[in-house]
Amino acid sequence: MLDYTKKEAYERSGLRVNPAKTCQPVGAMYAALGVHACMPHSHGSQGCCAFHRMFLTRHFKDPVMAASSSFTEGSSVFGGGSNLKTAVKNIFNIYDPEIIAVHTTCLSETIGDDLSALIQDMDIPEGKYVVHTNTPSYKGSHITGFSNMVASLIQYLSVKSRKSNGKLALFPGFVNPGDMRELKRIAELMGVAYTILPDTSGVLDGPMTGKFSLYPKGGTKVEEIIQLGDCVSSIAFGKFASEAGAEALYKKCGVDYQLLGMPIGVGRTYEYILALQEFTQEEVPYQLEEERGQLVDILIDIHPYTYNRKAAVFGDPDTVLGIAEFLLEMGMIPKYLLTGTPGEDFEEEAEELFAKFGVEGCRAKAFGDLYELHQWIKEDGVDLLIGGTHGKYIARAEDIPFVRAGFPIIDRYVHSYMPLVGYKGGMRLAEMICNALLDRMDRDAAEEDFEMVL
């Protein structure tokens, strides 16, 4: 497996091998799905829409609906304006959503379709909305697309009226529905009234009811997005995925925001809870205190097997940094951190983390790919690999225990219903890491070392 990878590094100038990211539109589609009764719309070739739906469905194991402008050669020459007009008409006629969230593709961006103008000139039924975001696939990554969609939703819809609604706005970042549920649960335990954008819980992790719903119960309502302008303040989790949205709300409606790291692990979850406490001025309920204590207890219990173990983490920048910090809390060493998304901030923040916990010899790279990670591992191995499904080839080739956390995870089930954030998420992640290491111990143990008690 993967015998193609050469151990010695060589100059790489033109080729991306085994990418650790994907393109903007799929991120925008995911964000749009987090809006209630929203039909995401892909303004480009048929292939784009089909691929993005497929990619998301493989991860969530749930149906994903989105429409396409279905570009042909004609549209590429004369522009996709008529495609979009027809599309919007058809979508409202056939699928009747409350809002259509259009995102562009590299094709429509390159031919220069001006979506703001097109949408302004459109006949939109009363009480319905059409918004758009620009997501050229040759810039950034799927995280950028997600971030752009959230920002655009706010730019189109949010308004500031004269009265505050007393709520906190939450921008969860590019996380699973399970994570969003956990963020909401913590906020509710703290007694905070919130609006979370986007909210894919109840959309992509909905129950089996025996009936197919084109628009499941979940998702942030359009009115809620409009009223975001009246929020007291907002919290954005993850710089890469959420800062743009929070910034847009601040610029448009003057809502102050706090930029926090992804709340994975003890410290960052605590940071979130403190921010909530500052908002409510109430005491933190014992339940959360207990959960924190439980997590710390667990980390101590497992440390004989985890302490000083080296791990490689790859995936989306905010998630990788969050997991890295948790690993450091556990006493593990995040030896290699890699993301496919471009951005020097990732490397800077990683270096700050390494310095804060006093570890040396660790490497972080943005805009990298899994081929490079494989080469690093070949040169100097690790005890554990953490990331999305595409790491399984490296795990198999180098015989390393592999924990699936991040995006996309397309060869396992259940993960999207479960959190990585919060104390509960930390417990889950600690369990997965510890189990992977202990499974490996059991697998490789000689008969006499095959222990009953570990």
């Binding site: 497996m1 993967l2 015998d3 193609y4 050469k6 060589y10 790489r12 100038s13 033109g14 080729l15 991306r16 091998v17 085994n18 990418p19 990211k21 994907t22 393109c23 903007q24 539109p25 799929v26 039909m39 480009g44 070739s45 048929q46 292939g47 784009c48 829409c49 089909a50 691929f51 497929m54 990619f55 609906m65 989105a66 429409a67 396409s68 402008s69 279905s70 570009f71 042909t72 050669e73 590429s76 495609n83 027809t86 599309a87 008409k89 058809n90 979508i91 056939i94 699928y95 590299c106 094709l107 390159t110 031919i111 050229p136 696939s137 040759y138 810039k139 990554s141 496919g340 595409h390």
Partner: protein, 375 residues
Amino acid sequence: MSELALLDERKDFIRQKKDGGCSGAFRCEANSLSGAVSQRACVYCGARVVLNPITDAYHIVHGPIGCASYTWDIRGSLSSGREIYRNSFSTDLKEEDVIFGGEKKLEAAIKEIADNYHPRLIFVYATCIVGVIGDDIEAVCKKMSKEYGIRVIPVRSPGFSGNKAVGYKMACNALMELWSRMNADDVKRSIACRPDIIHIGTPVSYIQIYSKLRKNKSWVIKNLLECVDIAKNKGIDVTVGFEDASRADIGFILSLAKELKKAEVDIIRIADTVGVLTPSRTKELIKTLVSYTDMGIELHIHNDLGMAVANSLIGAIAGAKFIDCTLFGIGERTGNCNLYDFVHAADVIFDLVMNKKQIKQIEKELYDMFKHIIQ
């Protein structure tokens, strides 16, 4: 079972099982309506799916990262051994490449693979954006092919140029290019054996070009010259064989010969593959060739009509410098020109370095060696 609510435009695409039956023609191969929640894929997808199981090829996707990441490991293959196709290769075009053109990046990508991995074959897939910004991937592929002496094949598959079925077609076209130029591969393998001379054979009669090869004359000329070029570039001498020349159009033979002379090929071999020549026709053919081409002529005659020796002799008299003979006249069907008989007849006309007595001796020795098998 309730009636399905169907769009009028879509009625022909759907067949519903009713009253125990489900018959009638299906419509397919159309594009989706704008705004439909459709699962239809694009041209690139179709091409990728067809070619992915060529497991020891490098499949490079020329475009932004999405196209490659969504088709990573898109189709498996039960072939064993090579796993290269399970990696995902992309030129990951960025904004600068879209503005200023991605050809340089594609070249760099191909170089990276060629320098480090010495591949046999590279496919380069065009995606939507390549179609719009106008990267000339054919030119890049050709250039890289020549520079590295490997096959780099462009697949013309920008996503918007049709639907998935068109993609299958584009992939098949690319495959055709691969197979039909297998001669080039043979030439390269020959080069690896370090010969002094490489002989390249090609059919020249219309009946063989059109029905056996399913090609046309211009393809033959182009392909032949390319193969000659490959060998010549390595400093190896080339001779070219015209198969089925006895049934070929003399004008075509002469024009081919002319092109070959320009390519510094000095010897052409005329084959009477199906054995239909007569002495007078042979004389006419060879005389024409010698006077019009000023090249060395080699003659390869079969004995279907019992005239192999006669035709060979007349050909030699008419100016052919090289005559193909075999011991015992062994060869396909009724055999080739018998060496003993030819020497017997030609001895009085030409100055030969061997006489028929020596030939007889060799025949005897050969016979003694193999008689227990022949018996």
